[in-house]
């Protein structure tokens, strides 16, 4: 009933072997199509549990499964362990340390959907994850046996590689860039078959639901957002890392669990680099749930929380992350390419004090111009990130516009940005 | 008054020239459209409309050109020769090029009509054939046509080639030096084609005994051996060797 759930048994280093996994969580029920407690199908049980996707979209998982079931063709199950979000570490951690839980969920979905193929998508720059996953699959009799093919696909490293259509596109045609929807992947994804793409944590939660049921799952969290969740806490805290929380927990207590803030918190970034900033004075009192975050203009996204200390320069951080986001674009859609370039240019001018007086308004205008005009949500996320920065850091932006670079501009960066610039796929 | 073979022969030649001119206009616009030529007085959808209209009219004149060539009884051109290249008895190579050009143009036209249903990628792949169609048509006109020695035809052909050269040149210039290799190849090909024509014509269609060398059936040839630049043939006569031979009868 209580925490930890997904992270149970992970106090020791290294992945949980199959035996250790069974010791912690119990055996997986042989027949997962009917939960032994309620007589429901897996999809019904998941619907009852209220599980929503943990990859950032927050889409009700049962509805996604039902859509795949309703589509024509033999389904494919994809476990999305790609973690292109630099400030996030939960999916890699889960796949690497508790692979059997994720595999349990994947096999349960495959049986429910009558799929004959499971694809584990991971980043290509995570050899430890691949090794742990391969070893775990090797230990199991139920995955990789006749009738259910299991494969590991290594996606080229990149922010967009974890996007659903990008995974299908890469498996189908070797191109790790998003495609236009419709058709949605649950209708036509890998090999033109209905494809269920579940975030690794979501699939892990399914592995728990098949054992304990929907009622147990709802024992934690809020009514609107039940269950536990993995969040990655980073930035100006003493003990950054991945934590398992229940929805509704107060952010202040999570920061304490992460060792407390090193310095007073200027602002908190929720949801990653496609998410939004919240002023520090409000943030610490907030409940960690989408409903409460939405009131301050943010969402949890893939469970990313970054605390920005007062000594950092938010303008420099925003400009740096925005430049990285621009470099990560697939380069397929004109408004995104042009718009992000203009945004980055304007931010750069602002940071250096070379900007026009209405640069903030120009940024908001550009953000509006790129939102919804690409094939994927990348420009939308970048727009949200920049717009919230302009709003929350209005003072610092005004100071930079008037006086140029501040002493904090050259301090150690807080928001992690991968050093390597990746070539555009287009 | 009946329409004799002479009328068909006139119609074939004239409709062929008009078709080539229209094809040239269409090609030039197609090339320039990629360079996004347009403005307030010439909206791009209007230019696109001219492109489509010119292409359709080219097909219409091509149909007339083919029909009259087949119907004319002077030169033995059958319907099969029209669509299957190089199988004819009358100037097989040069007529065959015409058959090839027609096949290509019809393929381009049909795929363009069905563009919405084909999808952009399939349509684009076949539309490239237009670049093959035009030079083949030019060479066909020069090799087959009995007007090749006429100044007006030479002038029209030269203008067509210059127009295409200019259009490709303009297209290559816009956005230079991106895609340098492709652009150099494109302008090189067109220039080579123009130069090739210049080299081929004097010894070819404008040279001695072209009618015989190009494969005109012997029965249609005059017995004499010297060929000179002659005025336009009239009323179903072949022009050979400075002497006129009436169809079917030796002078």
């Amino acid at each position: 009933m209580n925490l930890p759930r997904l992270l149970a048994g992970l106090d020791r280093p290294g992945p949980l072997t199959l035996d250790a996994h069974v010791a912690v969580h119990g055996e997986m029920p042989a027949d997962v199509s009917r939960s032994w407690r309620t007589g429901r199908t897996l999809v019904e049980e998941i619907r009852e549990s209220g599980l929503k996707g943990r990859g950032g979209g927050g889409f009700p998982t049962a509805r996604k499964l039902a859509s795949v079931l309703a589509a024509r063709g033999r389904p494919v199950v994809v476990v999305n362990g790609c973690e292109g979000e630099p400030a996030s570490g939960k999916d890699r951690l889960l796949v690497e340390r508790a692979p059997h839980l994720v595999i349990d969920g994947a096999v349960a979905c495959a049986r429910e959907l009558e799929a004959d193929r499971i694809v584990f998508a991971i980043d290509s720059d995570a050899p430890a994850t691949r090794w742990a996953l391969q070893a775990a699959i090797g230990e199991r009799p139920d995955a990789g046996r006749r009738g259910l093919v299991t494969e590991i696909v290594e996606m080229p490293t990149g922010y967009l590689s974890g996007q659903e259509t990008a995974i299908a596109n890469f498996v189908n045609r070797g191109q790790a860039v998003p495609t236009v929807v419709p058709p949605m992947v649950f209708e036509r994804g890998i090999a033109r078959r209905p494809t269920f793409v579940g975030n690794a944590e979501t699939v892990g939660q399914i592995g728990l639901i098949v054992r304990h049921g929907a009622g147990w799952f709802r024992g934690l969290g809020t009514d609107g957002q039940p269950g536990s969740a993995l969040v990655t806490v980073g930035g100006g805290v003493f003990d950054p890392g991945v934590f398992e929380i229940e929805y509704g927990a107060v952010l202040g207590s999570l920061i304490d669990a992460a060792g407390g803030a090193i310095e007073p918190v200027r602002a908190v970034l929720f949801g990653g680099y496609g998410g939004a900033w919240v002023d520090g004075s409000q943030a610490l009192e907030l409940e960690i749930s989408d409903r409460s975050l939405r009131e301050v203009g943010a969402t949890l996204g893939p469970g990313v929380i970054v605390a920005l200390p007062q000594t950092a320069c938010p303008v420099a951080e925003t400009a740096r992350v925005a430049a990285w986001l621009e470099s990560q674009a697939a380069g397929q859609c004109g408004p995104c390419v042009s718009g992000l370039a203009s945004i980055v240019g304007t931010l750069g001018e602002l940071a250096d004090g070379r900007a026009a007086t209405d640069a903030g308004a120009r940024l908001v205008e550009l953000a509006g111009l790129v939102t919804g005009r690409g094939a994927c949500a990348h420009p939308d996320g970048a727009a949200r990130f920049v717009t919230s920065a302009v709003r929350v850091f209005a003072t610092e932006f005004a100071d930079h516009a008037a006086y140029g670079r501040c002493p904090a501009c050259s301090s150690t960066p807080i928001l992690p940005v991968p050093a390597r610039r990746l070539a555009r796929a287009a | 008054m009946t329409v004799g073979p002479s009328a068909y022969w006139y119609l074939t030649r004239s409709s062929g020239v008009v078709a080539l001119v229209l094809l040239t206009v269409s090609l030039a616009i197609g090339v320039l459209d990629v360079a996004r030529v347009g403005g307030r007085r010439w909206p791009r959808f209007v230019i696109d409309g001219v492109h489509r209209t010119a292409s359709l009219l080219a097909v219409v004149f091509l149909v007339v050109h083919i029909a009259t060539a087949v119907l004319d009884t002077f030169a033995p051109i059958s319907l099969l020769d029209v669509f299957v290249p190089f199988t004819g008895t009358y100037r097989p190579v040069w007529l065959g090029l015409g058959a090839l050009a027609s096949d290509l143009l019809i393929a381009v036209a049909l795929t363009s009509i069905a563009r919405g249903r084909l999808g952009h990628r399939a349509w684009r792949a076949t539309h490239w054939l237009a670049y093959a169609c035009w030079p083949v048509a030019v060479v066909h006109g020069l090799g087959t046509g009995s007007d090749v020695t006429q100044v007006w035809l030479e002038a029209i052909t030269a203008v067509c080639v210059l127009v295409v050269l200019a259009a490709v040149g303009a297209r290559v210039a816009v956005g230079w030096p991106d895609h340098r290799r492709v652009r150099v190849t494109a302008i090189g090909l067109v220039a080579a084609f123009a130069a090739g024509l210049g080299l081929w014509l004097p010894g070819g269609p404008l040279g001695a005994h072209w009618a015989r060398r190009s494969g005109t059936p012997a029965s249609l040839l005059a017995p004499s051996t010297t060929a000179t630049r002659s005025p336009a043939p009239v009323a179903g006569l072949t022009v050979e060797a400075g002497r006129t031979v009436e169809a079917g009868r030796a002078a």
């Binding site: 495609t179 236009v180 397929q332 859609c333 004109g334 408004p335 995104c336 042009s338 718009g339 111009l369 005009r373 690409g374 094939a375 | 459209d33 996004r36 909206p43 791009r44 959808f45 696109d48 563009r115 919405g116 999808g119 952009h120 349509w123």
Partner: protein, 67 residues
């Protein structure tokens, strides 16, 4: 009738905005911004022509999703 743009196919040729300025305008980079209002009966044939004239067939017409 609903108008949508395939953002990957669209190469900012701009013919759609010429054909149907009542619903399509161009942003500062030449890409189409579609007015979300439904297309009235009298503009439907223009909308069809706009879709047909797009050099990359990026403009797509669909049934009203809100209907």
């Amino acid at each position: 009738m609903e108008i949508r743009v395939n953002p990957i196919s669209c190469k900012a040729h701009g013919l759609c905005a010429e054909m149907l300025p009542e619903r399509i305008s161009l942003d500062e980079w030449g890409y189409p911004i579609i007015d979300g209002r439904p297309v009235p009966r009298e503009l439907e044939s223009l909308a069809r022509r706009a879709a047909a004239v797009c050099p990359t067939l990026a403009l797509v017409l669909g049934a009203d999703r809100r209907a």
